[in-house]
Amino acid sequence: MNLTDQRICLWLVPVFGVVLLSAFGVAGVIPPPSPTLTAQEVANFYRDNLGQIRAGMITVNLCGLMFIPFYMVIVVQMQRMAHPSRAFAYSYLSAAASAGSIFLFADLAWSIAAFRPERDPQLIMMLNDLAWMAFISPVGFIMAQNTFLALGIYMDARRQPVFPRWVAHFNILTALLMAPGAFALMFREGPLAWDGSLAFGLHLGTYAVYIAVMFFVVRSALNHQAREAGAAA
């Protein structure tokens, strides 16, 4: 069996992980501007960093869905599991696709705010708020994906499971650690604000660690699939 397609999808992760991280850094999203800024300060932020914000946000716009191939490798691996049905795999696919559209929606709001920085500062702030909330708070989708994958692993009846059992625990744990992000739409300051230690730091830090660990987990599942296919041939 040829696994080149899945391997290519997997290796998009480190490439676009670096691209997206740099794009966010360039755009001034990391570290995030505080939600306590006044409308004028937000407008100044856009005006003073216009070139960087546009460059970063156009890059995110182009590359924001480049993790979808990785998620689809996970869907394929979930279909390899010994399950009576593909219910979790389909659920995972759907949640990943929804999450992608929401991520790009946040990018659009940032980009629109940067499109006409001389606009009424109140409107810039509104678009900036919308972008940050769409970016930080819809954690339910990645939480759902992790939960479906974990359930899939727990129920995998293969003698040699596709993913080891600890990966399921790891998915549940990371899902819980990302949950505080949802509260960013409620708080303008403190750890649960969109620049806070929990809603931003813990949430996105966990996501970064999650993707890095899952890269190796999926890589070893692919190696295993290749060995299995070789043995069967």
């Binding site: 939600p35 010994a82 399950h83 009576p84 049905s85 593909r86 219910a87 979790f88 795999a89 389909y90 659920s91 995972y92 696919l93 759907s94 949640a95 696709a97 929804s98 999450a99 559209s101 929401i102 929606f105 109140q122 409107l123 702030m125 509104m126 708020d129 919308l130 909330m133 769409a134 708070s137 819809p138 954690v139 339910g140 989708f141 990645i142 939480m143 759902a144 994906q145 939960t147 479906f148 359930l151 899939g152 129920m155 009846a157 949950a179 949802a182 509260f183 739409l185 409620m186 303008r188």
Partner: protein, 248 residues
């Protein structure tokens, strides 16, 4: 190997349970916490004062509701997942209609639900925001929510078609006709983009209340007959290599 009790339908049943649980959340979020689906729901002709009073007067509950939505909405895809599994069992339609159902479900999350939540979250985030901006967010939120037609119309259409074409009668034919009625609710909601008062406004008797009534009847039937479809799925259908789920 010791004899273990297995339930080969456990994954589907978990997904099935998510549907009634999600709609409990949905009712709690939109009916009680955010008051977006009231009743009574505020209409397009509200004054600026009325809009700020509705939006900001209920700010804390609204925020709690939208936090819950941001966490729970992702799990709604489990319902899609199990329906797709049952649609793929059908004989007659190939997998194409099942995949259509899956794609529409994935597409609907943002325009059909979260968009509205995010807009209201933005409008209550800063109580000192210009009332004109709050009014725009209010209108975008409501008319976008009630007036989001296409994802669901397509989903209902392919679901009804699949039921009609299915020779195995996984779902009863009348559920197909009911699904077409659900499609009609999207048609009668279309005028919310034009009317600002009366039965075809976004809070109107026909466009909103009749639509919600038909939807509620439909979703109850779907939940009930989906459970029956899973229950009636013969055990021979399960691949012996996929030994099923260990319960113990």
């Amino acid at each position: 190997m010791t004899q273990l009790r297995r339930n080969v339908k456990l994954d589907q049943l978990i997904c099935w349970w998510s549907i009634p649980i999600f709609y409990q959340f949905f009712g709690l979020i939109f009916g009680y916490l955010t008051k977006i689906m009231g009743p009574p729901i505020p209409g397009p002709n509200l004054t600026l004062e009325g809009i700020t009073a509705f939006t900001l007067g209920n700010a804390r509950h609204m925020q709690i509701g939208i936090v819950l939505l941001a966490i729970s909405l992702g799990f709604a895809s489990m319902g899609t997942g199990v329906i797709v599994v049952q649609m793929r069992r059908m004989s007659g339609p190939g997998p194409v209609l099942a995949y259509c159902y899956l794609a529409c479900g994935a597409a609907a999350a943002l325009p059909g639900c979260l968009f509205c939540g995010l807009l209201f979250a933005v409008s209550v985030f800063r109580p000192d925001r210009d009332p004109q901006i709050i009014a725009v967010l209010y209108e975008m939120g409501f008319v976008g929510f009630i007036g989001c037609l296409g994802c669901f119309a397509t989903q209902y259409l392919v679901f009804a078609l699949a039921i009609f074409l299915d020779r195995r009668a996984i779902f009863p034919k009348w559920l197909g006709y009911m699904t077409l009625w659900n499609l009609v609710t999207e048609l009668i909601a279309a005028p919310v983009w034009i009317f600002r008062s009366g039965p075809y406004a976004w809070n109107g008797l026909i466009s909103f209340y009749l639509g919600v009534l038909i939807f509620v009847v439909w979703i109850v039937c779907l939940i009930t007959w989906l459970k029956k479809a899973i229950k009636n799925q013969p055990l021979e259908e399960f691949d012996p290599a996929c030994t099923g789920t260990l319960l113990v």
